[in-house]
């Protein structure tokens, strides 16, 4: 006789999917803005995310700093890194396709640097958040995942509002739409590019801290996230701040339900099947 899964199992799995989806969204936020507005497919954000995660691990483990407080140190530093990256791209006039190759190279360099400093051994950050969780009826809500969800929603909505309602945001969108015309209207494209690149790198820092809160770190895991985050960015629409979060949650929940109701080994098919479906049905929306 076929046994149906319990409501608790399904609800807990959906929650799990929402949480992992919000991390996909956070990881994809910098990528989508850089791709859509700066026309750079910046793979180095994945490496920067892991670098931030390791820095967070180091500050928490060695200095005893609260994981979220590490952002006060890491995020400004990453803003500077983002600005420096943009200066390099501008200086060498890196095209969108070449940006993919250049940033892949940067990713490999950052991975090697991480391995040289922290070795290839696994690193697990222990923090007060790790053991905390809420219980709502039969469901459990772990604190690190809740923090990731909250940050992901807050940053995505804030960026959406900033791009839509502020002068700076409008200038960014105008520069992305038609650079020369935007310049003719007084938009300082160079300054905007520096600010946006720095902001995207800061988003990587936030994603890195969230990653360190929930996951054990190893340098080579940088590459494990690229495929699914790219799918979330493309599904959500390149350049749209709310896109990666919404698409990430759709992917995460679909994967989780696949695992809860059928064979977990089918889950990886979900994100790419959804992407192919979207490309076939609405090719103009990616």
């Amino acid at each position: 006789m076929m046994q149906f899964p319990s409501a608790t199992l399904i609800a807990q799995s959906v929650l799990s999917g929402v949480f992992v989806g919000s991390l996909y969204g956070l990881l994809g936020l910098g990528l989508t803005l850089s791709w859509g507005i700066l026309r750079q497919i910046n793979l180095a954000y994945f490496a920067l995310t892991f670098l931030a995660a390791y820095l967070c691990y180091q500050l928490v483990t060695v200095r005893g700093v609260d994981p979220l407080a590490t952002l006060l140190i890491i995020a400004p530093g990453f803003f500077a890194v983002g600005v420096a990256l943009q200066w390099l791209f501008a200086r060498f006039r890196v095209s969108p396709f070449n940006s993919l190759l250049v940033t892949f190279g940067l990713t490999v360099i950052v991975e090697s640097a991480i391995q040289a400093i922290w070795t290839a051994d696994f690193r697990r950050m222990e923090s007060t958040y790790g053991a905390s969780r809420l219980q709502i009826g039969p469901l459990y809500v772990p604190a690190p995942e809740l923090i990731t969800l909250a940050l992901s929603i807050a940053l995505s909505v804030a960026l959406y509002a900033a791009l839509r309602y502020t002068d700076l945001g409008k200038a960014m969108r105008a520069a992305a739409e038609d650079g020369p015309i935007a310049s003719a209207f007084g938009v300082n494209r160079r300054l905007i590019a520096f600010a946006l690149s720095g902001a995207c790198a800061m988003l990587s820092a936030v994603a890195g801290v969230c990653l360190a809160l929930s996951y054990t770190l190893a340098p080579a895991q940088i590459y494990a996230w690229i495929g699914v985050v790219f799918a979330a960015v493309m599904l959500g629409g390149v350049g749209r701040p709310l896109g990666p979060l919404l698409a990430g949650i759709v992917i995460g929940v679909s994967e989780a339900l696949t695992m809860a109701l059928t064979a977990p080994s089918w889950a990886p098919l979900v994100s790419f099947s959804l992407l192919i479906l979207l490309l076939v049905v609405r090719p103009d929306k990616t």
Partner: protein, 400 residues
Amino acid sequence: MRIARAVSAVLLLVASSLGVSVTWAATSGPPVRIGSTLALTGPLASTGLVHQIVGDIYVEQLNKKNGLLGRPVEWIVKDDQSKPELARTLYEQLITVDKVDLLMGPYATGAILSAMGVAQRYNKVLIHHTFGIPSLAKYDAQFPTWSLGPDPATTFPNTLFDALAAQPKPPKTIAIVTSKFPSVHFMSLGAREVAKKRGLQEVLFLEWEFGNRDFGPIAARLKDANPDLVWVGAIGLEGNQLLDAEKKIDYAPAYHFYMYPAPGPMVQAPEAKNALAATIFEEHPPFINNPGAAEFVQAFHERAAKAGLAYTGVETQAAASYTAWQVLEAAVNATKSLDDKVLAEWLRKNKVDTIQGKLRFDGPSNYGDDLMRVKQVQNGKWVTVWPKEVAAPGAKLMTP
């Protein structure tokens, strides 16, 4: 720096003229070149690093003694980046370009299988330490030093289920959840068959792709099924990821077994209390009494700490690696030869004393006995609990 070197040279000259023995000076002649690759980068690098440390220790120990055949030993190790296809190219390069005298196996089943094909083409002996699927080892001059036995998918689950059956409250139901990583998947399928034959009722069977990120739904399904025993076909971090997901939903399995967990992260995780796993060596008697074991354990602790490893204990990986070097040394010393054919012939006919115990290579696919034991996390340490004759002094399997 130059002054220090000059002073050292003068001191050595004086020492040797006075007849003081200088151990590393005992070797002479051109070096014996041993070639291998290891996963020094990529997803398997955390374990590859363990094998690199062990190789460094062993070669240093060899050179402090008499090297091999009185000649110093040089180990050429290349990074295969955790890619079997790259391992194949690099082994070809080691043989044809670097012209190494002997080969040592790489880390992990895929890379070893690649290296085996190259070794076979050039009739080279391949001693390897971490090959997980014995039936795939078809080359007659390959010698495994991870003592799984020829049919571990049957023999090891029986060892585990024997251990559990001997407990006051043996498990009656089982959930088998497994990664599709080949060497653990094959063991999990074997465990499934053995469990069925022994009358354990299977309440859940799940497979996931290697690299799975979200273990929440798998943990929720385990909690729902609530088996007496959870067999986790996990490799590396997967075991910890599942435990972490279980902790988040307040679920702790009764008996829980992990096939090839990352030993450090698992033993250090509070939720891994009483977790069971397979082992061939742990840092306690009787293993530590085997020749060379205590010295190796001490050397590994020091080197691993220096290399920045979070966990510096010796267990299956480091022990299998050390054993491979012991087997190579034993064969060369016994035959006084570097000839691959001579070495292979000797290895097939003789047993070798190692830190795992005596190894033989005369069974199917050159495998000998299954020396895999059952270990358990107890008070933040791995201790062997089964069979009783190799259990840590005073240790017994802790039950839920």
